[in-house]
């Protein structure tokens, strides 16, 4: 027991709290400090006289901790000896004593303190103990910036809600890319630009669809919202709804708070239409019959819960009370070196089953991630099978280690891709999917999803049975099944039965105490596409797990702050310096930051076998990876899109369309190039004429600027609608919306004809655009301008990557000259093939 005198500043409040510890008894205490601040003895500089800002943390009987903050040191007044000089005393109910990082000691306050010498030796021991200091120098600044972000967020979004005029009955909506269906044109649904997005279908037509297509069908409701009657009100409302499309909720009241998360229903926006002065939003929502929904609430609530939850995690970490998260954080953003276990195989580790189908780099990644070290990074360039590796890791963790995993990502699509993989096989892992939206893996849907996945493949699962006679008899019985097309899984299952939890890094469904209960017992955190996550979102689940696996690619898109300077400039809390700092912290991906540290510590593996793109296409973006990606596509899938005109497009796979006389023009901050649009349209028309079996081919057009899409949609409405019907799918969008997707043919617009100040110098956008293509890639642009654009990869030398890509295309692909752009809308367009 260490005896100290207790002293306190005269203006200290809550003196009665001090009485709790100043009872002459010894108490077990944790000692810690945020930053070592030592005062040495004047007479002998080797001896510590006082440690400033020390926290003495007492466990409270009910909940939380009593914390004394002050200086611990020597007092040379009578009676001489150890002294704790308390400056502040407070109770924190939200921390768990046992999760706090600190040095254990039994301390008693009395008038007979420890001698000066003994006190000095206690102090010296404290300073040396690695559990004493929890120091992340960036953290205070980080908290400051996060508080600023929170303020801007709440000022920006206060009470944005639209009253609901009416909610339609639900109907079946089939997206335009579902083809084997008899469509009634009258039931087509178009977006604001008149582009067909899908069709309303009747129940009997739904029943006739294949189960694969049934999965694509969504049950939508149309919601008419009140937007005001002034000119422009509707357009403003549409803009707002679109902007916050990821954070739409149906709510009974206009104002909502964290305690109402149960009454919120997420609204998954599918389409927006204008009906005279009304705005109609269509989307998916799990409406409860007994609840009345009066408002379409934008953003506010989701953002609030998300921020609260992140804030909570940050506070725990700052207090050093987040258990292993503190260490994880010190490895990820602090200065501690990442520990690394031996990844070599051990006898009897039972890993064979999980790695037998992985390639070498995937195997290495698997073995590293499962070697028991706390932090692992897997860099997954495009098409290298990230999801595949994640699946193997999750299978191993849940089945062999019998531990639990949180799978997270910024987007629902990325999580569902991983979950799809987990649910693929006979020995599927059923996840607990947490979301406010309708989702095939959520509690309400899982029984039906199991029927659609596992039961549909029963015949093949049944073949695994060793008792063939039994299997045959059962198969015979199953053909007579006329019961409900469901499983009875959800009602017989409790939270504890799940070993995988899927939730976005931004979900509002995990908030408050309920959220913490959900995460109880989870050991691992896997974040997919982590390169798109700002640090705040990565930190969110950190306090609840012991190990983190980050999967991503710092050469693909980085995080984007959800508001721009222009959006927040006028707000009361706006501060230019802070905003710039926020932007830089937020948009710097954790992955990119941590990568170097991980590489040094041997905690980073790059997947290097590309299964997606044919060789010529891969070569175009492999340039960013210094040619490290091996081409394996032709081996796993040798067939390609075929054309009826062999000479034109079939013999080569990558094309540069030289748009003669194309001119870049500005539209606000966005840009467009009419001539390039015409070239894109003409190539698209030509593809529609020449692609064989188009119903099996997916096509996309990727644009770097919103103005370019807008103009394309307006000008070529008919063509786009025709292409959507003609091909298996035809999508048009920005680069940002395409990350994570892939199609057989990709048309990439570059728009720019002026060298300076454009988006394209950001190599990540080019990398993502080009790497979406599986079979054929068309790049549109001005080769002279593009060849001059300099790009820099992570502080490396400037290089003119486009020049290298175009040179490559000259050698291995085909240059197409487009010269029809001078007279808009004329029929004079011609396609000259230079290298025929």
């Amino acid at each position: 027991m260490k005896n100290f005198k207790l002293g306190f500043y005269p203006d200290i409040k809550n003196k009665e709290m001090l009485d709790l510890v100043n009872d002459g008894e010894g108490h077990d205490v944790l000692l810690s400090t945020n930053r070592l601040n030592i005062e040495f003895d004047n007479r002998d500089q080797r001896l510590v006289k006082t440690i400033k800002e020390v926290k003495l943390i007492y466990e409270l009987e009910d909940k939380g901790c009593l914390i004394l903050l002050g200086n611990l040191g020597c007092d040379f007044r009578q009676p001489m000896g150890g002294m704790f000089f308390c400056k502040r005393v407070y109770i924190d109910q939200n921390v768990d004593y046992h999760a706090i990082k600190g040095v254990e000691m039994n301390i008693c306050f009395s008038n007979y303190p420890l001698s000066i010498e003994s006190t000095q030796s206690v102090l010296a021991r404290l300073v040396a103990d690695e559990n004493f200091e929890f120091n992340l120098s960036q953290f205070d600044e980080f908290m400051d910036i996060f508080t600023f972000y929170k303020k801007l967020s709440s000022e920006l979004n206060n009470n944005t809600a639209f009253s609901i005029r009416s909610i339609s009955d639900s109907y079946y909506y089939v997206p335009v890319d579902v083809k084997d269906i008899d469509i009634d044109e009258a039931n087509q649904i178009t977006n604001l630009n008149g582009i067909v997005t899908g069709y309303k279908i009747e129940r009997y037509k739904y029943d006739m669809l294949s189960s694969e297509n049934q999965d694509k069908v969504r049950e939508l409701v149309d919601i008419k919202i009140e937007v005001g009657e002034e000119d422009g009100d509707a357009d403003r409302a549409i803009k707002k709804v679109k902007k916050f499309a990821d954070n739409l909720y149906l709510t009974p009241t206009q104002e909502i708070d964290e305690n109402m998360t149960r009454n919120l229903v997420g609204f998954d926006l599918v389409n927006i239409q204008k009906d005279k002065t009304d705005v109609v939003v269509s989307g998916e929502a799990s409406l409860r019959k007994d609840e009345k929904y009066n408002y379409l609430n934008l953003y506010d609530m989701g953002q609030k819960v998300k921020l609260e939850s992140i804030d909570n995690s940050l506070r725990l970490i700052k207090q050093g009370a987040a258990g292993s998260a503190c260490e994880l954080l010190e490895y990820i953003i602090g200065s501690k070196q990442m520990p690394s276990n031996n990844s070599a195989r051990q006898d009897g580790d039972n890993k064979d089953n999980y790695i037998e189908n992985l390639d070498e780099s995937q195997k290495k990644a698997f073995l590293m991630a499962t070697d028991g070290s706390p932090v692992s990074l897997i860099k997954g360039p495009p098409g290298t099978g990230k999801t595949y590796v994640i699946n193997a890791i999750v299978q191993y963790i849940t089945k062999e280690l019998k531990q639990k995993v949180v799978i997270s990502s910024q987007t629902h699509v990325a999580i569902d891709n991983v979950l799809d993989e987990l649910m693929e096989n006979y020995d599927l892992i059923i996840p607990n999917r947490i979301t406010n939206r309708r989702n095939r893996y959520s509690g309400e849907e899982i029984d039906s999803t199991l029927y659609k996945t596992w039961a549909k493949k029963f015949e093949s699962h049944n073949q695994r049975a060793t008792d063939k006679k039994l299997a045959k008899a059962i198969l015979g019985d199953m053909s007579n099944f006329t019961g409900s097309q469901l499983f009875r899984f959800s009602q017989d299952t409790t939270l504890a039965d799940y070993s995988v939890l899927g939730a976005t890094t931004t979900t509002s469904a995990i908030g408050g105490k309920k959220g913490l209960e959900l995460l109880e017992g989870y050991d691992w955190l896997i974040i997919d596409e982590v390169s798109k996550c700002p640090i705040t979102e990565v930190l969110r689940y950190l306090p609840y797990v012991d190990k983190i696996i980050m999967v991503g690619d710092d050469f693909q898109l980085a995080p984007l702050l959800e508001f721009t300077k222009a959006d927040v400039e006028g707000l009361p809390s706006y501060d230019e310096d802070k905003f710039n700092k926020l932007e830089s912290i937020y948009e710097k991906s954790v992955f990119a930051n941590t990568l170097e540290k991980a590489r040094e510590a041997g905690r980073m593996i790059e997947l290097n076998v590309n299964y997606r793109s044919v060789k010529a296409v891969l070569n175009a973006y492999n340039i960013f990876y210094d040619g490290r990606l091996q081409n394996m596509r032709e081996i796993v899938k040798p067939t390609k899109v075929q054309f009826n005109d062999f000479k034109k497009y079939e013999d080569k796979d990558i094309f540069f369309v030289e748009v003669k006389n194309g001119k870049e023009a500005k539209d606000g901050t966005s840009r467009y190039n009419i001539e390039e649009l015409e070239a894109t349209a003409d190539i698209l028309k030509d593809l529609m004429k020449t692609v064989e079996n188009p119903i099996g081919v997916t096509v996309s057009a990727i644009f770097p600027y919103a103005a370019q899409i807008e103009k394309f949609q307006k000008k070529y409405k008919e063509l786009i609608n025709d292409a959507k019907k003609h091909f298996k799918s035809f999508e048009i969008d920005t680069v940002d919306a395409f990350q994570g997707k892939e199609t057989d043919i990709v048309l990439v617009n570059t728009v720019v004809t002026m060298e300076k100040g454009n988006f394209l110098s950001e190599f990540r956008r080019i990398n993502v655009s080009m790497s979406r293509a599986r079979d054929k890639l068309f790049i549109f642009g001005n080769s002279i301008t593009l060849s001059k654009i300099e790009m820099r990869i992570n502080g490396g030398n400037k290089r003119t990557y486009f020049r290298e890509i175009i040179d490559d295309i000259r050698r291995f692909g085909k240059m197409i000259e487009y010269n029809g752009g001078l007279e808009y809308g004329s029929n004079k367009s011609e396609i000259k093939l230079k290298k025929d």
């Binding site: 089945k399 096989n425 006979y426 020995d427 599927l428 892992i429 059923i430 029984d447 199991l450 029927y451 596992w454 039961a455 029963f458 699962h461 049944n462 695994r464 049975a465 060793t466 008792d467 039994l470 299997a471 008899a473 059962i474 019985d477 199953m478 007579n480 099944f481 006329t482 019961g483 409900s484 097309q485 469901l486 499983f487 009875r488 899984f489 017989d492 299952t493 039965d497 799940y498 070993s499």
Partner: protein
């Protein structure tokens, strides 16, 4: 017959009727599969092996085994039936039915309907619950047993007491009534109103200490035919108290002020007497005044305006003044009238007390016939003065306008003089926005000073222009 609302501590027991019975429901895919396995497999071991084969160590393994264990307990016939019709036998435990039993009255309420005796003990209970299936067992679970005071309606009918339960009247024996009706009436001595011995009809409540305390919470009450009447903002609340079978009951009647002259005057007089009219809402006082005699209204207005200003009351007072109540206005009231009246009413206020109006501009707005000789003379002088000043201003402004100096001065070198001249010209020339009509004498004098300055400047500048020529 008297109907009374009161609180009774009747004992009430809430029973849940738990019924277990066998039924069938559509089998789910996994139930059916495991039923098939239970039917076709040799033993548990081979069944488990089959499950291991088709689910590996995935999530369905434990789930299937659990379902298999259930199916395994069914006999062969049951399993065959499942295979035939996809209907799965199940034990349904239904706890959705409940009822309240009142032991003192020996009645029950189930689904809002009254039943004699304990409903749960009915022999045909299961039929009454509309359960068709063969019941394995049923059980009554006591969920709540309370005797807390709750509101009831009772009826005194000749010699009987009845209590309303589930919309029906049930006998409430007097001895039970005495037991369950808790009456701690300690404030009965406070009652000074008449306690009647007759009571009839509905709308009666049991008298409580709170009701009595509320009656005598302040002095603003009076008795009407012996009944207590409490003065409130919009009405009077009459409380009629009666004694019945040894306990006290009351009933309230609300008498609105609107249209009731006698009541309004009575209330006003009482409030004046209690000196509490000030605490009354102005809106309510105005209602009372509207239906009262003018002279009484005048004394109320005098009383209130002497203590606080009120625009509404002042306007009401002015209305009385215009109607001919000219005498006996207090000075404070008239001062308040002056503040809130428009100028057309000044003459009436002046007539009520000429000494109150001293402001010359106000006096100038009053009908000269009402003015005292001294005031009349003052006003005439004032008006003449104004006219003289206006004439001088007009003359000078006219001369400046016709002089063309406004333009000509621009040719001169800019000096302090020319600058000042232009400033003044802008302010006072023909298009000036100065409102001479509304200006007070003082303001007119200021204008005159500046116009004179402008006139002098014009003369000086004119000389300079001439010199340059």
């Amino acid at each position: 017959m008297v109907q009374i609302n009161l609180k009774l501590s009747l004992r009430k027991i809430k029973y849940i009727i738990k019924v277990s019975y066998n039924t069938f429901e559509k089998a789910t895919y996994d139930q059916y599969l495991m039923a098939s396995l239970a039917l076709r497999s040799k033993d548990e071991q081979s069944a488990y092996k089959y499950i291991d084969d088709i689910t590996g160590s995935g999530s369905l393994n434990a789930h299937f085994k659990q379902l298999y264990d259930k199916a395994h307990k069914l006999d062969e016939n049951q399993l065959k039936n499942i295979m035939g019709n996809s209907m799965y036998p199940m034990l349904k435990i239904d706890k959705s039915n409940s009822y309240d039993y009142y032991p003192e009255l020996n009645v029950s309420v189930f689904n809002n309907k009254l039943y004699e005796g304990d409903f749960g003990k009915y022999e045909d209970l299961i039929q009454r619950l509309y359960i068709q299936e063969e019941v394995i067992e049923s059980e009554l679970i006591e969920k709540k047993n309370t005797s807390l005071p709750e509101p009831y309606s009772i009826r005194f009918d000749e010699s009987k007491i009845l209590v309303k339960i589930a919309e029906e009247w049930v006998d409430l024996p007097e001895e039970i009534f005495q037991e369950v009706f808790e009456n701690n009436l300690t404030s009965i001595d406070k009652i000074k109103s008449e306690i009647h011995n007759v009571a009839d009809g509905s709308g009666w409540f049991a008298l409580t200490n709170a009701v009595i305390n509320n009656m005598y919470a302040n002095n603003n009450y009076f008795y009407d035919n012996g009944d207590h009447c409490l003065i409130r903002n919009d009405d009077v609340r009459k409380t009629i108290i009666s004694q019945l079978a040894g306990f006290y009951i009351y009933k309230e009647e609300i008498i609105p002020y609107a249209g009731n002259k006698d009541l309004c005057e009575k209330v006003l007089n009482l409030l004046l007497e209690n000196k509490s009219i000030n605490e009354f809402k102005t809106r309510s006082v105005i209602t009372l005044l509207t239906y009262s005699d003018d002279l009484l209204a005048q004394s109320v207005i005098n009383y209130i305006l002497a203590r606080k200003d009120s625009k509404e009351l002042a306007l009401m007072g002015i209305e009385l003044l215009v109607r001919g109540i000219e005498k006996n206005w207090e000075n404070e009231a008239l001062k308040s009238f002056m503040i809130h009246a428009d100028s057309s009413k000044y003459s009436y206020i002046y007539k009520a007390n000429p000494r109150l109006v001293t402001d010359i501009q106000m006096l100038s707005m009053i009908n000269p016939d009402f003015l005292t000789p001294t005031h009349r003379k003052k006003v005439e002088e004032y008006k003449n003065n104004r006219q003289a000043i206006r004439d001088s201003i007009d003359k000078m402004v006219g001369e400046i306008a016709t002089s063309g100096m406004r333009e000509r001065a621009k040719q001169l070198k800019s000096t302090d003089k020319t600058k000042r001249f232009h400033t003044l010209v802008k302010r006072y020339d023909a298009h000036s926005k100065v409102d001479y009509e509304q200006a007070t004498l003082k303001e007119l004098e200021k204008y005159l000073k500046e116009v004179t300055e402008m006139y002098d400047l014009m003369k000086e500048l004119q000389k300079e222009v001439n010199k340059e020529k």
